[in-house]
């Protein structure tokens, strides 16, 4: 029953993708859309062999991957640190929680020029900006997770003889884990946005830079190919993090 339901949902999703593709092919074939705005799908596909042989592509991909890794480590480490410090202290949690939530609605991109001023046009500014972007959901969720662990679990643990260390390792951490992990996942997605946006706005290398330069040179087919690669990168990254989360939940 559930399996059939899942299959039906997957079939509809594939169908929707097919509709988009058909519209894309039809519109470009009939010449209703300028190839500068939207190239034919097979033209985009034809870009891939060239792109995969091109060393600038691989160099760009590597730079972006390294920046992304750095930003993710930065966001997670600082978010967890601040989250734990604040979340274990009720008064601080009450003060900072609304600020952290509010910070997530602020267009953080406003601060990107400051990152460039501080760290230059190279990868460091992307790491810093991506990390800054991803920090907020990690910190906010960690604060929320730790400050909302139900008191009844702590009382029960005390009645069962848990010492302070056991309360932290056996009660607080597992109780907070799901919410913290969803913050990490959201943070990871924002790191990626931060890194690519940073590259688009000002850089000399990376996928974002390649995308910007293809667009600037009206090499639209190449642009679409790069966008496809970025989307695949997002999918791989999300998949890896979801996998880590699932393994964690079952372990």
């Amino acid at each position: 029953m559930a399996r059939r339901e899942r299959l039906r949902v997957a079939a509809i999703q594939l169908g929707l993708a097919a509709v988009v593709l058909v519209v894309w092919v039809y519109q470009t074939r009939t010449g209703r859309v300028s190839p500068i705005l939207l190239p034919q799908p097979e033209k985009v596909l034809a870009e891939f062999p060239d792109m995969l042989r091109d060393s600038t592509f691989w160099a760009g991909l590597r730079v972006t991957a390294v920046e992304l890794g750095g930003a993710f480590v930065l966001a997670t480490a600082s978010g967890l640190l601040v989250g734990v410090l604040v979340g274990r202290w009720a008064a601080a949690a009450r003060i900072t929680s609304p600020l952290l939530v509010w910070a997530q609605t602020v267009p953080i991109i406003l601060f990107y020029p400051i990152c460039i001023l501080l760290f230059g046009i190279g990868p460091m500014s992307k790491v810093a900006f991506g990390g800054f972007y991803g920090f907020f959901p990690v910190a906010a969720n960690t604060v929320l997770a730790l400050s909302t662990v139900p008191a009844r679990y702590l009382t029960a643990a005390a009645a069962l003889g848990a010492d302070r260390r056991q309360i932290v390792t056996r009660v607080l951490i597992p109780a907070a884990r799901p919410l913290v992990l969803s913050g990490v996942r959201l943070g990871a997605a924002l790191c990626l946005i931060g890194v690519i946006a940073g590259e688009l706005l000002g850089s000399t290398e990376g996928l974002g830079y390649n995308i910007a330069s293809s667009a600037g040179g009206f090499r639209t087919a190449e642009l679409y190919a790069y966008i496809t690669v970025a989307l695949i990168l997002v999918a791989i990254f999300n998949f890896a993090i979801t996998r880590a989360e699932d393994r964690d939940a079952s372990g």
């Binding site: 009844r152 009382t155 029960a156 643990a157 009645a159 069962l160 003889g161």
Partner: protein, 279 residues
């Protein structure tokens, strides 16, 4: 009676606390109570009479403002998990652990080895009749089943005394009747001293050797009723004249208290409403 016959002894225990608005409330006023070893004592009274507070103080989970509590002749200063087990009103099983791992957790805190932990957990899970759910998670069990697991978790520590705070409070009438009978069987097998907080007159009379009736605000002991029928009691006891008589007496005692407590609450509500109206 020698000292060692007394499992728990509260002497002149008072508990004061301050509400969020800064009002002083006396939750308990000079409460003295002795619980003998092997005895089943129920605490019953209007809501807010401090019966749960008294239970937490008896278990060392909360400190009293004044007075003393002695556990098996020793002054109580904090929870003693090897001697006193707790079953709480809320569902307190850890949702990230399997049922078996939940029962093991107290033994884990104590540093008991893995194999012994497993064996004791399995034995106690069997005692509450839920062996089939060893690998399930708490969320997959009904409320009544979760509370039975909580009882197994407390029993796995092999405490001499079990303190239960309305363990079936959140369950429907039929489930709690069945669980009450189950509980009587389980506890008889385990041979524990029990202090049991409840709202249910039937539960109190059916299960207890003595029923402690408390009065509300400030919480005091009003009267202690003795139920002479030997335990474990058969379901037929609930039909007997003694049961009905005791239950009726309990109802009379509580009726006045509950009326007074409810009217006081309503009165307070009206006053607050008035104040708000003026502001």
């Amino acid at each position: 009676m020698t000292m060692t016959d007394i499992a728990l002894c509260a002497t002149n225990v008072s508990m004061l606390y301050e509400t969020q608005r800064g009002r002083q409330v006396t939750a308990l006023e000079t409460v003295s109570l002795e619980v003998r070893r092997g005895e089943f004592v129920s605490l019953i009274g209007p809501s807010g009479c401090g019966k749960s507070t008294l239970l937490y103080i008896l278990g060392g989970l909360r400190g009293q403002t004044s007075g003393e509590v002695a556990l098996l002749g020793q002054r109580m200063t904090g929870p003693v998990p090897t001697k006193v087990g707790f079953v709480f009103q809320d569902y307190t099983l850890f949702p990230w652990r399997t049922i078996l791992a939940n029962i093991e957790v107290g033994l884990e805190f104590r540093g008991v080895g893995k194999r012994e932990r497993r064996e004791r957990a399995e034995a106690n899970l069997d005692l509450v009749g839920l062996s089939a759910f060893a690998q399930a998670y708490p969320g997959e069990l009904s409320g009544g089943m979760q509370q039975r697991v909580a009882i197994a978790r407390a029993l796995a520590m092999d405490p001499e005394i079990l303190l239960m705070d309305e363990p079936f409070g959140a369950l429907d009438e039929q489930t709690r009747t069945v669980l009450g009978e189950e509980l009587a069987r389980i506890l008889e097998q385990a041979g524990k001293t029990i202090v049991f907080v409840t709202h249910s007159l039937t539960e109190a009379v059916f299960l207890s050797d003595r029923v402690v009736v408390m009065s509300g605000r400030p919480g005091r002991i009003k009267e202690i009723l003795t139920v002479d029928e030997p335990r474990p009691r058969k379901p037929g006891f609930a039909m007997s004249a003694e049961f009905t008589d005791t239950r009726n007496r309990l109802f009379d005692l509580l009726h006045d208290e509950m009326r007074a407590a409810t009217l006081a609450e309503l009165g307070a509500g009206r006053q607050n409403g008035g104040r708000r109206g003026e502001a």
